[in-house]
């Protein structure tokens, strides 16, 4: 199969990427729709022949993730292909939230501003490029919801059929916001880990399917690096002292670290110490638990939390999250569902940003770390909001609402005591 893949590829199909290499044992194999090492089942990672590149070249690129094309496994003409053009979302100075939490220099990277309102548009755009270059017939994923939205939309835009698998009990907005783009949305009786297992089995049987987070996962994961590039660029080309990132599979956190390392290696930022923190919901906190216990493997759990976009009980990159967090001097911590709701409300009331439950998790953990002293409150800190609160309205619907319901008269207004 692999030789056939190589024969069909056009020159430069994967940009400066040169091979797939195993993160566990270092074995390499050619670029193709492969994700697990044939020697040890370890995750395959993209290797590059890194180009020399300047800040000016990047700044002259499009206002989306393709400004970093030379550092992604995508062709030089990627910006001309039909895609959702994600990224370059706002980095906001969160002075009010910082004051509330006692953090002097705090920023929120608000990725709810992507085309389908979560960071998943970044990873999907890179996976879509791989699918296109590999000549895939079907673009597919197992998803906790946000990814389903992103895959279905990107497939529609690119004109490639999509098949999207979700757990049967997802939030309604995430179901509708997928189904609107595709007539092949499949609800599976089971939790995300069950859906994921099914997808892995289908990926092994069906030729020509690109499952974004299964058989083209090495490409897909690289899309998350753009979060790290953007944060550094938007801060004026430096790496923040501390970054707080939600952990589901753990891929995003490890890729932000990879991005920081690449920027240092390429001379685009100065080398400096930085710390990366991971955030989980207590009802699905296998990585936080392993961190506390001092383990380097992650014991799977059965998720039970309102933060469904983070509800992965068997996180593929969990061990690597532990590596990164320990290496950089960070912490993986968790907060319960009530703290998640409070986190959503706190961010909304202080900064005007309505986060989904995953954002509530990171804000809740940020607060906890600031209070415990695990986070240096005098150091520059960036916290990620990776999705939009409109997708998880139920989480806070019973906490907020009209202060009063009144008749349409000035008298009724003054009597209500609003001001």
């Amino acid at each position: 199969m692999s030789t056939l893949v190589q024969d069909r590829l056009r020159a430069g199909a994967f940009g400066n990427a040169v091979a797939l290499s195993c993160r566990e044992c270092g074995a390499t194999q050619e670029l193709g729709p492969f994700y697990a090492c044939t020697e040890c089942f370890g995750p395959l990672e993209i290797s590059y022949d890194y180009p020399s590149i300047t800040r000016e070249q990047i700044e002259a690129g499009p206002a989306n993730i393709w400004r970093y094309q030379p550092l992604l496994p995508v062709p030089a003409d990627i910006a001309e292909s039909p895609n959702t053009e994600p990224g370059f979302t706002r980095l906001i100075r969160a002075a009010n939230l910082g004051r509330e939490l006692g953090i002097d220099r705090l920023w929120v990277k608000d990725d709810s501003g992507n085309p389908t309102h979560s960071f998943k548009d970044r990873v999907v755009a890179v996976a879509l490029s791989a699918a296109r270059e590999l000549g895939s017939k079907v673009f597919a994923c197992p998803s906790t919801g946000n990814l389903a939205n992103a895959v279905a939309a990107a497939g529609a835009r690119a004109g490639i059929p999509t098949v999207v698998f979700i757990p049967h009990d997802l939030e309604i907005p995430k179901v509708v916001a997928s189904a609107i783009y595709t007539n092949r949305l499949v609800a599976v009786r089971g939790n995300y880990d069950d859906v994921n297992r099914l997808a892995s089995e289908i990926a092994g049987e069906e030729d020509g399917w690109a499952f974004v987070n299964v058989n083209v996962r090495p490409y897909y994961g690289e899309g998350s690096k753009t979060l790290g590039y953007e944060v550094a660029e938007q801060l004026g080309w430096h790496i923040p002292d501390q970054t707080v990132i939600p952990v589901a599979s753990g891929s995003q956190l490890t890729k932000v670290d990879k991005a920081y390392q690449e920027l240092i290696r390429l001379g685009l930022v100065e080398e400096k110490p930085y710390r990366i923190f991971g955030a989980q919901a207590t009802g699905c906190s296998p990585v936080a638990q392993a961190f506390r216990d001092g383990h380097d493997v992650v014991r799977p759990v059965r998720p039970d939390t309102i933060a469904k976009s983070l509800a992965i009980g068997n996180p593929a990159d969990g061990p690597y999250v532990l590596d990164v967090v320990r290496r950089t001097g960070g912490v993986v911590a968790d907060v319960d569902d009530e703290q998640v709701r409070q986190g959503i409300e706190l961010l909304a009331r202080t900064e005007g940003v309505f986060a989904e439950t995953a954002g509530g998790v990171t804000i809740g953990v940020l607060k906890q770390l600031a209070e415990s002293g695990a986070l240096d409150t005098s150091a520059e800190t960036v916290v990620f909001n990776t999705g939009d609160g409109l997708k998880t309205l139920d989480a806070v619907a019973d906490r907020v609402g009209p202060a009063a319901t009144i008749d349409a008269s000035y008298e009724a207004f003054t009597a209500a005591g609003i001001i």
Partner: protein, 91 residues
């Protein structure tokens, strides 16, 4: 106990391309030993040098991840289906 084992793509070089093979054993460990006698080399792909399940392999007996059961000591009832699946997926 006679069981059937679903083989992931990357191990099918050992099973002549078969996606599902038969094996014998009262526990998962015994089933893997039996697979080794039929398809030499397959054991060390699934287990590490210490004889434990590799960390990026998920094995299911029926519908259950053996990490929630007794690992290699998990009983394998007659006729049960065992699935070996790469763990590096999702998210």
């Amino acid at each position: 106990m006679a069981v059937s084992v679903r083989v992931p793509t990357i191990l099918r070089t050992y099973t002549s391309g078969e996606s599902e093979v038969g094996a014998e054993g009262a526990t998962l460990g015994e089933v893997i030993d039996d697979l080794e006698t039929r398809y030499a080399g397959i054991r060390s792909r699934v287990l590490d040098d210490a004889g434990a399940l590799r960390r990026f392999v998920n094995v299911y007996v029926g519908n259950d991840d053996v990490r929630f059961l007794d690992g290699l000591a998990t009983p394998t009832a007659d006729g049960v289906q065992i699935s070996i699946i790469p763990a590096v997926a999702g998210g």
